[in-house]
Structures are given as structure tokens and as C-alpha cells.
Symmetry: C2
């Protein structure tokens, strides 16, 4: 049996997971592949660290360039993260004719266009299933399984930390700060949670999903991103009453004049399956013009799930690596010279319905003023709910669901509303997506 | 751009769907593939029939052998169904060196072993994504996306008709016969619904899922199959009260002494996502030892969804067809000579918990007798509910949830219970699967 040698960059959570799979599930993989896999060398940051995986017969180095220049290594597996050193190492590896497997979403989202072009030039493959939604083979499903479709939209719960927080906030008495603290204690959230809760991580993943859905260049800097830290327990409760769930969704959709790429808290009808995805789990819906709605669900992070995708990519690269590059599935699902240049449109251009929540002084005529302002902007009210404000006497909480309206129009109306003396504090606005329901 | 010619066998619902995709979404497919697809010939049953798709520039024939012998045809796409003529046509096509794409679940489940061996001998590919769960790329996801895993179990809602019926039976006053009639009127169920409601169609699909999950030969005749026609509105209601959904699941699992392959009504906790898959939609859960639980969801039937998978397979075959067969993904995900021979175990061997429902005369001591019989068999009762029987005076409906117990043991206990004078009619038994909850 032929043995393919790989070099690992990084032996942290995911690197250890990948090594563990290769060490313990290799017979099953060989039954599939008809070839074997050997880890020839691993670059680690600290050679003296004690490890939970067995590295006895594998050379370790703290000089990562050794891995990308190693003459025996066919495939470089990058699991170190970051967009600096990782990028230059992979560039060297590609120039050396090595194939690449990576779980690095930031690197692909921010530098993928250049890396894919370089890989094409050097006839090597870059595989990155683990970069989006961890263990869920969603890149493969969309890029190959939906190849007969024009994808209309993609919507995903692609950050487990955020979904865990929003799920836990449904418990009575829970608020964002308290739940975040628990998430940090459980290791679900980092000490600095910005990357997860402000949607940057999700924006990286959405960038990739949008490109493989529509066949457009990676455009991370064009993604509109809004976090979940402003969501209150009241919002969660009102959503529940209205038969919605609040999810931190990445949404990419095909519009008449371009594409919309955005990550923000979203109210989704409970009747849509993805609304029922709870805790740290991830799920991606993709709507194809022929297949209709499909969804892919599973664990979006963790050693085992992420390494599952990494090793599946290694298997795939081994299958493909001797074959001509032009018959293979292109990195973004579409040939690089076939990527569309339609623009990513501003968030102001989208049209959807909205949940608005504000505190209003309990004066006669307040409701008349508010509804008049909305009517003046041609915004219909689908639902209105008023209840005494729990935080303040003589104030009421108002919840409004609007009809479909252009976001710029809604923003203007919100500005006008904010200027009313009767409105206290900020007006909360959450976009609603029906996702085909 | 190179053009690959295909020959279609059948121009019914799915055949028309495939032709429609090729005619209307070809530019998008070409952007992905870098090659074009042309339908060179179509075999139809009746040349005179009016069609909803445009066949103006495509030669039609009512002699299907013309298609499989056609010198220009590279790929034969079989969408006629059945296991007789379809089988012999595909054998000829394979012997002629044509690659095969098929949506024929019965053919693959019943004759796949021989067909795959023949294909290997003649260096051609058989692709069959559309045979399981219609538009959901679940074969691809499991065979390739989970390639790093030892799959522990698969569980799927893989018959849309059955799922539609069970979903509709949740409505007040609905019973099986009435809902089936509506399903027939809507075209969701055939005039003779046996194939769907008795689980034969699901057993075909489960056979395939089990083989690609575990790397075992296709063994359709070993699948235990039980339909949904015995489920009553009462069962649906009790399941609801107990926080379960009744689903017609196909389940394949790895046991110590072999594999379990079965299709039967199953109670699933509502907290498991698949319990929330309703109407005609399909979903397949696969549990890998590294990735954990994953799920694939979408439409399991219909022209568009099924043809979406058929055309994706055509794209894939075009990518692979010039490459050596031994680097390709094997038909069942595992090399044919690596398929395991562990036995499919009898349904008597499985161990799970059960829902029992029976009518008992409202006598003093009945409950004592019943619980004593269960205790004698070492079956613990997790839950017991008794309510006046709606159909009969002086009778009560008893609902029991057992702990985990071997099925053979439970069956013996049910036999003993049935002999009691106090029990009226049959005892209903529904297996419960927690699916990781």
C-alpha cells in the first residue's frame, strides 16, 4: 500500500485531534482510500510542552519552515491559525509544490483569492473544509452536491459560541453578560470574546460560503457585521411570544443588483428547522433554484469535529493530487476565471421585515405619534405589542413587527422616532428572515 | 469548451427535471465544470406523448437499447426505474464502457453489489446520489465528508410520504386512513401506497446508507421492515404528551456482534433536531466517532430536487471519468475488496426502550398483574400513564415506557401480557431511539 507523507503545522487542539484520528482510525481510512497516511514532521511552538497525543515516533521541530521545505512531505496541513506566519509558510509550501489542507478561516477569507491563484499557478490543491462549520462537510455539499443549482441564498449559524449564548439566554433571568461569563468558564468563549460575539469569526465563514454559493471572489471586507451583545433578555422573551427564535445568522443572498453579505442577530420563525438548532451546534441552510432548501448540521468546533474535516480533506487531496488540476473541483467551486464581479451591495439596500423594541413614556398619544411616523415612511405594522416597562414607572415597552421595507427607509424612520421626547434610550432593531417559511 | 454527451433512459418526472436543469442552468454548471453537457438521445416509453419539457432538438427513441449502444454517449443516465429492464440496460451500457448515473434505489439496493463489480471490471463509474433522500447530497457527505470517521450509526427520515402522513396525523381528529386519502389526492402517495407506508422504499435507501456508513455489502433482504399503518391518533397524542415525535425512521447501527438494519415507526425525543423534520421533507443523521452527530436535510423527492442530484452526479462523473478508477471514491465509499462481512443481526437482538400501549379492562388488580409480568422479565417501567378508554366503557388505555431491554425479552413479555383476559386487542409497541439526546 502506498503511503502519503504529511507535515503538520501546529499541534494545538485541532492538530492534536488530527494526529489522534490518523493514529487511531487509520485502518478504517485505508479501507476507504487504498493508501496510507504518515505524519512525517510536526512544527510546534514549544518543543518542551507535555502533550496529550503520542508523538514518540514523529520528529517535532520549532522551525516551521522545515515542514514546508521538507522533501518527503506531499501535503502541508496548516492548523496554527493567524494570517501572518501561516500565510507566508503556505506560500512557500505552495511554491515548493506541496498541497495544502487548512482549517484557517481568517486566512482563506482574507487572503484566499491570492492563495488560490498561487496554488493554481503551481498546480497544487488547497482544501479547507474545516474552515467553515467545523465537522460539517458543508463546503463539499455546496460546492459539489449542489453543483446543478444556481444558489439563491445561504444562511448559517456558523459560530457556536454565539449560538450557545443565545440559547442559554432563553432561560429565565439570564442576560447576556451573565451567560457570557458562564460560556467563558466552560471554555466556549475566549477571555476576549470579541471575535465570536461581535461576528468577526462568522463573517470569515460567511465570506467563504458566499463565494462558493455564487461563484464570486472572497470579499471579507464587504461583509456587514453586527454582534449579539445588544440583545436583551426582553428581546429573547418577545421573540418567543411571537414564535421566533433569535439567531446570530450569517446571510448571503443574490439580489437583482448584486449580492448581500451580512452577519447579524436575526429573528427566524420557529417553524424553520434552523431556528431549532441550539447550543454550540452549527447549521447552514443553502437554497438552490432546483433543489429548494437544504440544511447541513453538526458540531462547528472542537478537536474531533474539526479534525474530522481536516483528515477528510487529506483523503481527498490524496485522491486528486496526481490528476490534472483543471478537472478537479475548483477551490471556490467555480473556475477562477469564471468568478462573477457583481458588487456586494450595502446593507442599506436590503429589504426585509423588522422587529423594533423601544421604551416609551406612558403618555396619551405616544402610540399615535409613533404609528404616524411609520405610516409617513410607508412602513406597515404587522404586529404591535405594548406592555408596562419592568425597569421604569410610567414607561411602556413597545414591540413592533414591520412589513417588508428597505433598510435605508427603516433607518430614517428610526432616526425620526428617536428624536421623539417620549422615546427613552435606543431603539432596538432586529432583522427578520423567513428563510422560505 | 469540451462537450460531454449523455443518453437519458426515461423522461418522466425526474428525467424531465434533469433535462430542464441542463437546458436552463447550463451556463452556471459550465462556470463550475469548465465543460459542457449535451443530451444526445432520450429513450421514452411512448413517442407520441405530449411533454412539458422541450425536446425539439433531441432525438427520442422508444428503443432503449439504442441509448446504451449509442457511440456518442459517454454517460447513460437511468431514470426509468424498476429492477428488470433497467438492470439489463445498465449491464449493457457498462459493458459498452459507458459511465452510469442513476436515481434507482431499488436497483442499487437489490443489485448494486453485482453492478458495482461489473463497473469496476469495465473501468466505469456508477453514481447514484439521487437514489437516497432526493436532493440532499447525503451519499457524498457520508462517503467523502465523513471519510475520517468510523460511523457508529445512521438514522433517517427517508420517505417523504410517510413523514407527511405522520406530520398530518398530529392535527386533531386526523387518523391514518383519512390522512392517507388526502396524501393520495395531493399526489404525495400512490394509489397503492404499500411501497411507501410499509417501509419498502425506505428499506431500499437504508440498505444503501448502511453500506456506505460501515463499508458492508448491500443486503436489502436483511433489513427488518415495519410500516406506519398501525399507528393511531392516540399514539401520536401520547407521544406528544411525553415530548416525543413518532417518525418512520430507517436506522442502521454498529453493534458488538454485527450490524442492525431496520425501518420502523420510532419515537424520538423532541429535543433531537430530526424530530422536528416535518411534512414531505427528508433528513439523515450520521454519527461519526470523531465528528459526533451530523444531519443532512432537504427535499427527498420531486422533479427539481431529484434531478439536482442527478445532474450533480453527471458533473462529478465528467470530472472523474478520465482518471484511474483506483484513486476515485469507491461506489460504496470503501474499496470493494475491503467490504466487511460482519453479519446483519436479527431485530430480536437490538436493545432499546419501548413505548407500549394497550386497552385493559378497568378491573381491580389489572395494573398489578401487568407490572408483575414486566418485573418478572426484568423490564423496568420508566413511565406509566392510564386514562379512560375513549372507545369502550369500563376499559382504560395504558401507556408504558420501558427502560432499555433486549427486544426478544420484551416480545416474550408482550406475549404473556396478551394472554391476560384483562387485555383487549393487540398491544402496540413502538421502539424509542434517543439518537444521542
Amino acid at each position: 500500500m502506498k503511503t502519503v507523507k504529511i507535515g503538520l503545522l501546529g499541534l494545538g487542539t485541532v492538530g492534536g485531534g488530527a494526529l489522534n484520528i490518523i493514529q487511531h482510525t487509520l485502518p478504517e481510512i485505508e479501507r476507504r482510500l487504498g493508501q496510507s497516511i504518515e505524519v512525517a514532521i510536526i512544527a510546534v511552538r514549544d518543543l518542551t510542552r507535555t502533550r496529550s497525543v503520542d508523538t514518540q515516533n514523529i520528529p517535532l521541530t520549532d522551525n516551521a519552515t522545515e515542514v514546508v521545505n521538507h522533501p518527503d512531505v506531499d501535503i502541508v496541513v496548516e492548523l496554527m491559525g493567524g494570517t501572518g506566519l501561516a500565510k507566508s509558510l503556505l506560500e512557500t509550501a505552495i511554491q515548493n509544490g506541496k498541497h495544502i489542507v487548512t482549517a484557517n478561516k481568517a486566512l482563506i477569507a482574507e487572503h484566499g483569492n491570492a492563495l488560490f491563484a498561487l496554488a493554481k499557478k503551481h498546480n497544487v490543491i488547497i482544501s479547507y473544509e474545516a474552515a467553515v462549520a467545523g465537522g460539517i462537510p458543508v463546503i463539499k455539499a455546496m460546492r459539489e452536491g449542489l453543483a446543478a443549482n444556481k444558489v439563491e441564498w445561504v444562511a448559517g449559524i456558523i459560530n457556536g459560541t454565539g449560538n450557545y449564548i443565545l440559547t442559554e439566554m432563553k432561560k429565565p433571568g439570564a442576560d447576556f453578560a451573565a451567560v457570557l461569563k458562564v460560556a467563558q468558564e466552560l471554555g466556549y468563549a475566549e477571555a476576549d470574546p470579541t471575535f465570536d460575539v461581535e461576528g468577526i469569526d462568522a463573517a470569515h465563514k460567511l465570506t467563504i460560503l458566499a463565494s462558493i454559493a455564487f461563484g464570486i471572489e472572497l470579499q471579507f471586507n464587504k461583509v456587514y457585521t453586527e454582534g449579539i451583545s445588544q440583545i436583551t433578555a426582553d428581546d429573547i422573551r418577545f421573540a418567543e411570544q411571537l414564535d421566533y427564535e433569535i439567531k446570530h445568522l450569517g446571510v448571503a443572498s443574490r439580489l437583482e443588483n448584486g449580492f448581500s453579505l451580512r452577519v447579524h442577530p436575526t429573528m427566524v420563525p420557529k417553524s424553520v428547522l434552523i431556528a431549532n438548532v441550539s447550543g454550540v451546534m452549527n447549521a447552514v441552510m443553502a437554497f438552490g433554484n432546483h433543489v429548494g432548501p437544504t440544511m447541513y448540521y453538526g458540531p462547528g468546533a472542537g478537536a474531533g469535529p474539526t479534525a474530522s474535516s481536516v483528515v477528510a480533506d487529506i483523503v481527498e487531496v490524496i485522491r486528486w493530487k496526481e490528476q490534472p488540476i483543471d478537472v478537479q473541483v475548483p477551490a471556490l467551486g467555480f473556475a477562477l476565471d469564471q468568478l462573477q464581479s457583481a458588487p456586494v451591495v450595502s446593507i442599506d439596500e436590503i429589504e426585509t421585515s423588522y422587529y423594533l423594541r423601544c421604551f416609551a413614556k406612558d403618555h396619551v398619544g405616544v402610540l399615535a405619534k409613533i404609528t404616524a411616523i411609520l405610516a409617513d415612511s410607508n412602513i406597515s405594522i404587522e404586529h404591535l405589542h405594548q406592555e408596562p416597562c419592568s425597569q421604569e414607572a410610567n414607561a411602556a415597552t413597545l414591540v413592533i413587527i414591520t412589513n417588508h421595507v428597505k433598510e435605508s427607509l427603516l433607518n430614517t424612520a428610526i432616526e425620526t422616532l428617536s428624536e421623539l421626547d417620549d422615546i427613552e434610550g435606543d431603539i432596538m432593531r432586529i432583522r427578520i428572515e423567513s428563510l422560505g417559511a
